[in-house]
């Protein structure tokens, strides 16, 4: 069971979360939706393509221009309010690790706080509880926000991801977050090299079997690029292959750049799993 503020989903329902960057420097789009106009166009397009959630972020994940809390709020809060006004029923997520930003966006209408840096600001969970918002609990291996892994090693990367995300989720629940709204995310590439991200994908069933809703963020990441030796911009096929494997293992939310393609993969895998009937079956049956 997954609950995103007023909306409830059973375990076989998959959701596409479309990335909307309010940054001038994110790795994939390089500032394409930095201005309000293009950002709104992006929201309208992904909604038309079937996105269930938009994930609005004001700080690039990697090293880059310093963005303090005030600047982050300038980038996302009014935009969240405007998206909420135009799309009253759309689930709005905000990618932030800061409690002060979390509070401001929840007041503006956000439903979900995507804490991509694994509880770095412990007060963010309190904010989620206060607003009955959902919270993504990610595994970063203890990294400081916006830093990459350097020679990180794990005796068992999946065990580490399970232990840390479950601890964060249990802590959030103890503070008042609904268990159906505490989402765990192994966080591919965050505090991990390509081998680690591949192993997390291969063994994702060890996370999905725990009962917490699982989110995966695979889209165009370096583990795809390194595996196939392809630059950003040529990683869609690899992303979709990883998406299919995660869907087979039962992940529920997919944070992506390409919405329509992801939706097709998720529907196809759901039908293979036997939890979604094919759209139209005629062959051999007429």
């Amino acid at each position: 069971m997954l609950r995103l503020r007023g909306r409830e989903y059973d375990a076989d329902t998959t959701l596409v979360m479309a990335i909307v960057n309010r940054t001038p420097d994110s790795f994939y789009d390089n500032g394409a939706t930095w201005d309000d106009g293009p950002a709104f166009e992006r929201v309208r397009r992904v909604v038309a393509e079937g996105a269930d959630i938009v994930d609005i972020g004001g700080v690039k994940a990697g090293y880059g221009q310093r963005v303090d809390a005030d600047e982050e709020k300038r980038r996302v809060v009014d935009f969240v309010a405007a998206v909420r006004a135009e799309f009253p029923h759309l689930v709005i997520s905000v990618d932030t690790w800061r409690a002060s930003v979390g509070r401001a966006v929840c007041e503006a209408g956000a439903d979900l706080l995507n804490d991509a840096w694994g509880g770095y600001d412990p007060e963010l969970a309190e904010v989620a509880a206060e607003f009955d918002a959902a919270l993504v609990c990610t595994h970063t291996g203890g990294l400081t926000p916006r830093t990459p892994p350097h020679r990180t090693r794990y005796e068992d990367v999946v065990r580490a991801a399970v232990d840390d995300t479950v601890a964060l989720a249990e802590r959030a629940v103890s503070m008042g977050v609904d268990p159906a709204s505490a989402i765990i995310d192994p966080a591919h590439d965050f505090g991990k090299n390509t081998w680690h991200s591949l192993e997390l994908t291969r063994r994702l069933g060890e996370m999905t079997s725990l009962g917490w809703p699982v989110l995966v963020s695979l889209s165009n990441k370096d583990f795809v690029g390194e595996t196939l030796d392809l630059p950003v911009g040529e990683r869609l096929s690899g992303t979709l292959a990883a998406t299919a494997v995660c869907a087979w293992h039962g992940a529920q939310i997919y944070r992506v750049h390409e919405v329509a393609q992801t939706r097709q993969v998720l529907d196809m895998v759901a039908s293979i799993r036997g939890v979604r009937p094919p759209a139209r079956v005629i062959r051999g049956l007429a």
Binding site: R151, E155, N193, E226
Partner: protein, 231 residues
């Protein structure tokens, strides 16, 4: 009595299987091989390895911690594996076909001047023919894609290390600032200083040579050979 000293870096990528289908460090690996040939060819009674790590200590494990970084083989408990820098050394020695006696120890990244001095002197006082292999890297902050992002000071620090290695300047190595090295993620500082102190008795190297000094992925790697007068 030290007969030859060699410096190599210890990126996990020197464990060949971690690089995947292609070898991202083929050129570095070749130069490490050449340096190891010089080291093992100096007819040592014992080969002493010093590598940087979280803590200082002696190690007798045999297995490199490959699986903690990746790969797909069997998982080995951490207590049965070497610290990463020594694991890289073990692999380089195996690749060089070295079958002689090996003693391995780590030195903490943040070891004080007194501690690196004491560790170095303990090696200097040995009476057998000692070949010394030192695992240490330069700064990991040499570009916007580097593990520690760009810090312009990295270039001066690494150039100073390169100069010391190419000129056999032991004093220069002992003067490297531990705090600056730590800020610049130059993990080799302590190990290089142990090396400098270990040569206290045999004196400056003869014909010191830097075989490799480059930063293909934002981390500075050095390969250097210091043949000693006693060789």
């Amino acid at each position: 009595m030290i007969v030859t000293t060699v410096v190599c870096p210890h990126p996990p990528l020197l464990l060949r299987e971690l690089g995947g289908g292609q070898d991202p460090l083929a050129e570095l690996r070749k130069e490490c091989g050449a340096a190891l040939e010089a080291l093992t060819g100096s007819s040592p009674d014992v080969l002493v390895v010093i590598g940087g790590h979280d803590t200082s200590g002696e190690h007798t494990e045999r297995i490199a911690p490959v699986r903690e970084f990746g790969g797909t083989g069997e998982r080995v408990p951490r207590e049965r594996t070497l610290p990463p820098s020594l694991g890289v050394a073990r692999r380089l020695l195996d690749d060089a076909g070295y079958r002689g006696r090996v003693e391995m120890a780590t030195v903490a990244w943040d070891a004080s001047a007194a501690e690196v001095g004491a560790l170095g002197r303990r090696i200097a006082e040995r009476t057998e023919r000692v070949a010394l292999l030192v695992l240490g890297d330069g700064s990991a902050r040499r570009g916007s894609k580097a593990p520690g992002y760009l810090d312009e000071r990295a270039f001066a620090l690494d150039e100073e290390i390169r100069r010391c290695l190419s000129e056999g300047d032991r004093g220069g190595l002992t003067r490297l600032d531990p705090d600056l090295a730590a800020e610049l993620m130059a993990q080799g500082r302590a190990a290089l200083q142990v090396m400098a102190h270990a040569l206290a008795d045999v004196g400056d190297p003869v014909r010191p040579e830097v075989l490799y000094a480059d930063d293909p992925f934002g981390v500075m790697y050095f390969v250097a050979v210091w043949p000693c007068a006693s060789s």
